[in-house]
Symmetry: C2
Subunit: 641 residues, 2 copies
Amino acid sequence: MTFDQTTTATLPIAPAVPSTGRLRPLGLGEVRITGGHWADRQRVNATATLAHIEHWLEREGWLGNFDLAAGGALPAGRRGREFADSEVYKYLEAVAWQLGRDDDPELEARFRRTVARVAAAQEADGYLDTNFGRSGQGARWSDLEWGHELYCAGHLFQAAVARERTRPGSDDGLLGVATRLADLVCDVFGPDGIPSVCGHAEVETALVELGRVTGERRYIEQARLFVERRGTGVLRDIEWGRSYYQDDIPVREADVMRGHAVRANYLASGAADVAAETGDAELSAALRRQWANTVARRTYVTGGQGSHHQDEAFGDDFELPSDRAYSETCAGIASVQFSWRMLLAEGDAAYADLVERTLYNVVATSPSADGTAFYYANTLHRRTPGEAADPDVVSPRAEASLRAPWFEVSCCPPNVARTLASLDAYLATAGHDGSLQLHQYAPARIRTVLGTGQEVALAVATEYPADGRIAVTVENDATEPWTLQLRVPAWAAGATLTVGGETREVAPGYAEVRRAFRAGDVVTLDLPVSPHFVRADPRIDAVRGSLAVERGPVVYALESVDLPAGWEGVDDAVLDAEVAPRDADGRVLVRLAHRVSGDGPWPYATAPAGSAAEPADVALVPYNEWAERGPSTMRIWIPES
Amino acid sequence: MTFDQTTTATLPIAPAVPSTGRLRPLGLGEVRITGGHWADRQRVNATATLAHIEHWLEREGWLGNFDLAAGGALPAGRRGREFADSEVYKYLEAVAWQLGRDDDPELEARFRRTVARVAAAQEADGYLDTNFGRSGQGARWSDLEWGHELYCAGHLFQAAVARERTRPGSDDGLLGVATRLADLVCDVFGPDGIPSVCGHAEVETALVELGRVTGERRYIEQARLFVERRGTGVLRDIEWGRSYYQDDIPVREADVMRGHAVRANYLASGAADVAAETGDAELSAALRRQWANTVARRTYVTGGQGSHHQDEAFGDDFELPSDRAYSETCAGIASVQFSWRMLLAEGDAAYADLVERTLYNVVATSPSADGTAFYYANTLHRRTPGEAADPDVVSPRAEASLRAPWFEVSCCPPNVARTLASLDAYLATAGHDGSLQLHQYAPARIRTVLGTGQEVALAVATEYPADGRIAVTVENDATEPWTLQLRVPAWAAGATLTVGGETREVAPGYAEVRRAFRAGDVVTLDLPVSPHFVRADPRIDAVRGSLAVERGPVVYALESVDLPAGWEGVDDAVLDAEVAPRDADGRVLVRLAHRVSGDGPWPYATAPAGSAAEPADVALVPYNEWAERGPSTMRIWIPES
């Protein structure tokens, strides 16, 4: 269904709305990105990435696994890891969102064909997983720690939810497949069932979403049960400890996120959904606390989370090495999902700030410009030039900091695809009191009906983040006053709001205008996006004595291909912190000096080593655009001279 | 056999001497530590650690595996990992060395009983490994990447070599077991055999040593073949790349050590042995280059190596995070073995410097004071207090930076034991030209015959490293002039040498005195061991803006139990670099200030955060003694204010 730009009346594409919370999300029928950075990304996603993913799912046999299952041939010939089914489901979710954005009969047909292959593999009692339950496979639910059965189920549920949110009542059969499996999950894991959880949280948030779109309260109750059980030691202890899968501390008792960063954020998302549906204030408070402590102590300047390669996990507080940053793409996506749920629940701009930072500096960094290669991990410092990945080869080394076409563990490509295809939904919300919030800035059209019944139509014009001006034009006459709230990011000290020729300074948070708007009214927000240095908390040992450069929401990086001739790599550079970073012809320049460090026999001495010379103005690149010009070294944090 | 203090004639306990090289190692019959720090460690090793290890080998069934093998019961009931046999062999090696230091009939009987159990498991053709080759097990040599068969064989050979070096011609049967297996290895992997290597290097150095004590040239040739094959891609590619097991680049072509740090150092040790036996100058040059680059760019201030938890591997150049330091105990031991071989070959004091640094700050750090708990990894910065390990429980978390009694992968405890039991052999060497070198300083007795035929007897008196004075008393009259060389460590600028009442300054390297010594002559070396700050190469990002304190060869650490009341942990401390560290009543004091860092909502700001106050003089602890006073936080590198 295309976005109907002529009517502000009935809104057929509704989001799955939490039953409590301060803000109501808008569906793709209510908000649409119409241009700019994210529209470009969405176009590449639609025209290149989706087909790329389908190609690899076929080529690697992960789609074929469903055909084998339907034909009774498994386990012989099954390919891929235990969670391969989930990549198919994330692909389906991405396609569902894309079809919600733009009609495309050919894509619709491909979607239906894939759904049919999945549906054919479902067993009579609703069970669906190509890796368990058959002769020669592990028994169903026999490996909750590592089997990923419920994780896969959750991604199936989310695909069905995406479809129902964009094509309600579609006859493709996907929702039925999902609910049959969800019913089985509730039977097996209900109050009198297996008293455990999945080693990889994900099904919790999916069950709540499925409950919202179907009205089936039982799914939400099952999600609540899963959230309550986790942290009580229901899973086996492992080398990295139960914290790996958050089974060390009950969710409502934990103070900070820990363990596997994707698992932690999906779990928190599900717990936030449960708290929203049950009005559980204690659980909400725990999540608020965990979010705040994690953001204050365990998050990279990019918004990335997870500093351990070994277990893809959060480290200790302030353990945030740049060169060993893991910052998995999927952890960034999961963090966006958690922050988004907290934003809906609490209405605090800090959540939207982190969503923006993470979208620009993690999610946008993963895919290549052409949408056919991806970072799995997103390092903040590459010391040695990588080699370009072969576009025809599956990378066994997800963590090697190469953009690669596909991975043996290929969670990130379809996760990026579903996020970009649904990005419109993160732009705006409506308050229950007759207000409308803009959280993210892009050229956009918004049409919705506020809680007061007031119809609202807006057009957002901006070149953000290149430029800081965001002009919101009201397109309809209001029958009564309503409130427009525009997010002012925490970094935007000195921002101004102009309404009716009057300009005033607005503080970080939400700048607010309340009136009976008339068609043609313009509200203009000016955010100061000139580049500036940022410093890290001194407890972040890894970047002591170094500065990073931000410009608006975008984190910049020094890449070796931009260095003067004769400099070996970015580790030769020291920063002149007396010279502020500055815009010049669309680039951001900093003053660097060339440090030549001859090797001594032993790198620990009593006197300082090295000297710097040859000052030069060097352009930085937006971090999300790095590594597009051949092998290079790169660093975000640059040592001060 | 006890050290015979009355004769300087025949030396029954001979080391396995390389056929080339500048220095000749001395055996336990020629050099003996008689007191001080290392004698204390050796006493604890002999009286507590050996029995502790035997207890756990029995309890975990790793000794029992041999009984099951002998009884034809395997694979049912086999316990432990694929390399469990090797822990038994390292234990045997440790006991062999200890029996070479001190007669102990009860220990001798235990040694023989254990050898008998191992021997009973050997198959008719010489094969010996409890994990392969039987019905229900993998075929022999079917998993060279991960099976560790040749690795285990190597440790068996080294146990036999230790026995032959301390009890030549013993009738316990161990040497026969070793040579039968070595013969089989040569048959199977010889020039016309399987053209591959073991995924974990170790057998190379062991084969050369076995060749030296038996005179069997074939073993040395087999080691040479293994060294030549590695790096040509004979092993399967894996997620971390073939560099993990050094199969990415031929040994003679590599510039720096990489991949798994224990594997890398054992391989280099074997290659050094091969180069010494074959006079291969190209291979020697490659090893010299690799050692130098690794020490200059990939080694912690403690001498520790390996910065990756994930693959227990070296990182890139200068990638040396303190908080995620892996610095495996076994990598330190393997590095000592490599440096020792380079020292024998080249005679350069830099090798002995690294041996000393690593012994004091890695090997000595692993075991607890009572010798019954061990660090597997040796972090340089602990941010959160650990919990004491249960002395009755196997730790599944070798990498958790707890000293634990035993690990699921328990390579480190017996490796420490064999190193401490053989430590005497690292003190001194003889030059082929009639010189004698002292490389490590401890109260000791030395009796040997120089290459010229000159008998030499020395007594070393010192309280090193607490005190910097080393007094060497000659105990016999020389018939002709000979040269005494005393190592002056690189950190010891301003050292002096006193001979016959004359004192002169001596530079780092070897201070030399040549004369026809008379009984009673004293040569005194004074090393300046006052504490001082060291700085890191600016390319080591992780410790930028921080200082460490060394005193002699000992690296110091700040431990939270020494902080003033009210300081939360070591990360509250900033260092006043204007106040030099100083000795006070046997402790080392530094001037710190208390930094109180309130959390902001986001740790990256435009202005510096935090302020420091409350200066206090705080005692540092030798790093090798930390974590003996309950849970604590710790850091070696302290940020400057």
